[in-house]
Amino acid sequence: MTTLPDSTDRSLGLVIDLDTCVGCHACVVACKEWNTGAYGAPLSDQDAYGAAPSGTFLNRVHSYEVTPADAPAMVVHFPKSCLHCSDAPCVTVCPTGASYKRVEDGIVLVNESDCIGCGLCAWACPYGAREMDRAAGVMKKCTLCVDRIYNDTLPEEDRVPSCVRTCPAGARHFGDLSDPESSVFQLVEARGGMDLMPEQGTRPVNKYLPPRDRDALPEMDVLGPLLAPVEAQPGGFLGWLDRTLEKL
């Protein structure tokens, strides 16, 4: 049923730290690696070695430049994947019931054997988190690695989404965002975690931690005051040269 649940038992999701992300795209590669071999159709590429390569990715890293009014510009790397919205517009538009939000953990999934590939859910998502696989003709999206996080055959430390496990900077965190005791909840509280496009009314579960302000160095001019001001009019030989040249 593509109606949304009134509430979910848990709200599993990601917290992405824009202060720490170095833009290495390791999460992009890890995501593609895990999800092309795991649940559902593989993540295909088109013309991978040709002139116009493209492919299906569930996670992409953008880079932006932010220029404050009173400070130098800064670069912010910006990973983006499905935010597992509480009011997910992608779910309610689905005509087949392939798209759904799970009551037990809030994960938004696509049942690929029901998906007709109409693409309406990708239109409905304001974040660009859904991509139609051009080989399989079904909709692909982040599953929050549902086949890892509950997988008893994996060692305990691997039971997190592939992107979280791989991030070398520790910029990605996974947990239950509805549980005030959870580390992700507290991280969001402490760092002022924010929603993307709040005006779209999707109530995303995933949160983004804003970059910290860069240190502003105080004016530290130790030697300056000791130096005599440079003479406005040079004297001596240089002065003579200057005056002579001027006459020429």
Binding site: V28, P95, L120, C125, P126, G137, Q200, P210
Partner: protein, 291 residues
Amino acid sequence: MHPAPSLIAFTTLSGLGFGLIFWLGLGLPDATGWVALTFATIAMGLATAGLLSSLFHLGNPQRFMKALTQWRSSWLSREGVLAVVTLTMFALYTLLWVWFDMRFRPLGLVCGGLALATVYCTAMIYAQMKGVPRWHSAFVPLLFLGYALGGGALLAGQVRMAGPLLLLLTGLQILAWWRGDGAFARAGTSLGTATGLGDRGVVRPLEPPQTGTNYLLDEMAYRVARRRSRALRLIAILGIGLVPGLGMLVLPTGHALALLFVLAHLLGTMAARWLFYAEAEHVVGLYYGRR
């Protein structure tokens, strides 16, 4: 948004078909026998051709029956269900009309109502999209219904109805363009809110996530032919309303002229529909520095 030919054909043809079903259901024009059969076939043919062409838009069309299951929440599903019900009822109506020479008015009215409801659902598929501000507007269902009623009246040969309806439609379309041009700005979504960084300063894209293109850009950040927007709008204005609308009010009616008006209207509608997709900007384009 990408103006997929299959979607332009679908919305145009099925809109006309269901519009014609509406007028035939009302009992207009007063025809029997072969003429009646021709009218009914054109109506059902257009509606069905439109529905079939929309199947070409699907990645897995063989599973389309599943799309009839989620009518409680999905406008696309509702459209599918209503289209099937409308066509079935209208086939029954046609059977009684053509072979038993019995124009069963209550059934006709039900068909007419269902046909308009189907068109309304088609429109709501677009109007519900908050991420496409130009579409997220009451103008969209009004316009779709206007095209169906005006175009349907034209096809049904209802000159006295079609003329004013088409002129009204043209005015509505111009108003919708004018309001739509400012819709994105009014929606208040910017790269600042999309990244959450807008409070800190001016945000500008530095590097895209990939060197090539992707599905999102091809589907939702389509920018070709917006330059031609003025010319296409002019063609649309002339085609959908001014030529057939004024023509019918002024000139004497005849079959050849009527055919000309229908073709002009079809051309104008296609141009307007092309713009409907091509000019609609999705907020996801912001992430890529495109709209």
